[in-house]
């Protein structure tokens, strides 16, 4: 797996704030489209469909109920 899931961000709190702030004043539909634009831009920046597929898998796993916590 080439997807990096160890902490790498230079400023974690700033990232969170940036993402939340980006959605200010947007309704649900506009918000969803903004996220889509951001994801498309970042996916192109990464330049690998395989890495994005790994991210999709990890992201979907994250919200599944876990057995034996």
């Amino acid at each position: 797996m080439s997807l990096l899931t160890e902490p790498r961000l230079d400023d974690a709190d700033l990232l969170f704030e940036t993402l939340v702030e980006a959605h200010r004043d947007l309704d649900a539909e506009a918000s969803r489209r903004l996220d889509a634009r951001i994801i498309l831009l970042l996916a192109n920046h990464i330049g690998s469909v395989e890495t994005v597929r790994e991210a999709v898998l990890v992201a979907r796993e994250a919200v599944k109920p876990r057995k034996n916590p």
């Binding site: 539909e29 969803r32 489209r33 889509a36 634009r37 498309l40 831009l41 192109n44």
Partner: protein
């Protein structure tokens, strides 16, 4: 309604051969059935074609003839006619709302006999195919002859035919089912036809008008004149324009066909001052599906009978013509006794992946044009919003991935490269055209096995027609990555079978035998 074209009516003639035995019977005298019949006839085979109607296609239907299809019709003697009558185009433009966001060129280089696409109403091609079939003297087209029963057995097929004179039986050594998406032959043999239906409806209108629109494919997402839907515009021969309006799943197909309602939609698009006449209107739902196998003993399925795609990408008619191109030379070789029956298994193994490629591409286009969920719509709109200003998003815009010829990369008929190649045309790919000193490269290939012999190369075996190409033919040399001594073996359907940097006649003969299914 139709004013620019008068469809011929073909007379029914009693065949008077009840119980007769024929080598090849084609069921369905549409574009694909007539193409395979003509190809077989030009190879000296006698063919009976049964058609339940007495005329050509109603409505323009398959209008976009791709370069590969034009090349096939070039081989069959109809290419130039299509080029002269049709509208040549190679540029597509995509609009989002009120502005252009993306433009593509499907054939940016010169030096090909045929362009990327010619738009032409299907009825012209069918009429010319009928005339060409009749002219061979080898094709017996029987109009108003409907197949109502099929029995498939090891030695061929027995069919029951209904005509104005009643019913009779015929026997075929080989039955070619070209009877369309609702294939009677397929259904009566109980063969499944599975895939998916897209929950959307499209209005297709042929409009006659004088307009100075360029000969380009124009596609709109969510334009001001058709909010929330997509619209596609193509120019055809005789000042006929094809307009597709996306209607959505909830549209009432009967109400939408009402001429006043269609005219209002068209007027909204063209503005109030442009006079036009409606010529043909239809409402469609799209499906992508195929049979598991296209060969069932001595019954073979071609075109929409075997596989169905959505029209975005022009992969239906073009795919069907490539089926005919693939099958005709093989069946002729089997009938002549120069190839074993097993060669026909390769029709299946070559055309099934080609159909899958067409289904994949047209399904993806349809998923882009008709988003299946709110999330899909958000991504789709995000792509369109980004594409105007950011180059990276433009390749993501999918208004139809236009028909490309199948590359039969994994075919058992290919002889794999034994030497390193940097580019060129790989085994399984269709031969690429290029200008030669005395005409076109594809024009020099004709119907048989041929070898492109570049520069200073040796002899080719009997049964392979040499096409000698000097190293001064720079386009051909570049496109085939040729050196002096390079030989490229081409099958009768113009796909590359093998290539060598240097070769003797025996190796060429072995590759030819392999392509005929005579063993590796």
């Amino acid at each position: 309604m139709q004013s620019t074209y008068t469809a011929p009516r073909y007379a029914y003639r009693p065949a008077g051969d009840a119980g007769a035995h024929h080598a090849v019977i084609v069921v369905g005298g549409g574009m694909v059935g007539l193409t395979v019949a003509l190809d077989l006839a030009q190879r000296g085979q006698r063919v009976v074609v049964l058609d339940d109607d007495d005329t050509v296609s109603v409505g323009s239907r398959a209008i976009c003839f791709a370069k590969r299809t034009l090349e096939i019709y070039g081989r069959l003697g109809l290419g130039r006619k299509a080029l002269a009558k049709g509208v040549t185009w190679h540029v597509g433009k995509v609009f989002f709302q009120d502005r252009p966001i993306y433009e593509f060129d499907l054939l940016p280089e010169m030096g090909h006999e045929y362009p990327a696409f010619v738009n032409l109403q299907q009825y012209y091609i069918e009429q010319w195919l009928v005339e060409a079939c009749v002219a061979t003297g080898f094709v017996d087209i029987r109009w108003r002859s409907r197949v109502v029963g099929v029995l498939n057995h090891a030695g061929g097929a027995t069919i029951e035919v209904e005509t104005p004179d009643g019913r009779h039986m015929l026997h075929a050594d080989w039955l070619l089912a070209c009877d369309g998406a609702r294939s009677f032959v397929r259904d009566s043999l109980g063969l499944p036809f599975v895939g998916k239906v897209f929950r959307d409806r499209f209005l297709i209108a042929d409009v006659v008008m004088k307009a100075d629109f360029p000969a380009e494919r124009w596609f709109w997402f969510d334009p001001p004149f058709h909010r929330g839907g997509s619209v596609l515009l193509h120019r055809q021969a005789d000042d006929v324009y094809r307009i597709d309006f996306q209607l959505g799943w909830d549209a009432d197909p009967e109400a939408e066909k009402e001429p006043g309602r269609v005219a209002a939609r068209v007027r909204e698009m063209l503005g109030p001052d442009r006079p036009f006449e409606l010529e043909w209107v239809s409402v469609y739902t799209f499906r992508c599906r195929r049979m598991e196998q296209f060969r069932h003993g001595r019954t073979l399925f071609l075109g929409d009978a075997a596989h169905q795609v959505s029209p975005f990408g022009a992969r239906g008619g073009n795919g069907g013509v490539q089926d005919a191109d693939n099958l005709a030379w093989k069946l002729a070789a089997v009938l002549d006794g120069t190839a074993p029956e097993a060669l026909l298994d390769s029709y299946d193994t070559e055309r099934v992946p080609a159909a899958d490629e067409n289904i994949l591409n047209s399904a993806r286009s349809t998923d882009f044009i008709t988003p299946k969920s709110d999330a899909a719509r958000a991504y789709r709109d995000a792509v369109l919003e980004l594409a105007e200003h950011h180059a990276f998003a433009r390749p993501l815009v999918n208004s139809g991935r236009l028909s490309r010829p199948a590359v039969l990369r994994d075919s058992v008929l290919n002889t794999p490269d034994a030497e390193p190649w940097d580019g060129g045309v790989l085994p399984g790919a269709p031969a690429i055209d290029a200008p030669l000193a005395d005409g076109w490269l594809l024009g020099a290939l004709r119907h048989d096995f041929a070898a492109l012999v570049f520069g200073d190369a040796g002899d080719v075996p009997q049964g392979v027609r040499p096409v000698r190409i000097g190293m001064g033919a720079i386009d051909a040399v570049r496109r085939y990555a040729a050196h002096s001594g390079t030989v490229v073996l081409i099958r009768p359907d113009q796909h590359v079978a093998a290539r060598w940097r240097g070769v003797d006649a025996a190796a060429i003969a072995a590759a030819r035998d392999r392509a005929l299914g005579l063993g590796a």
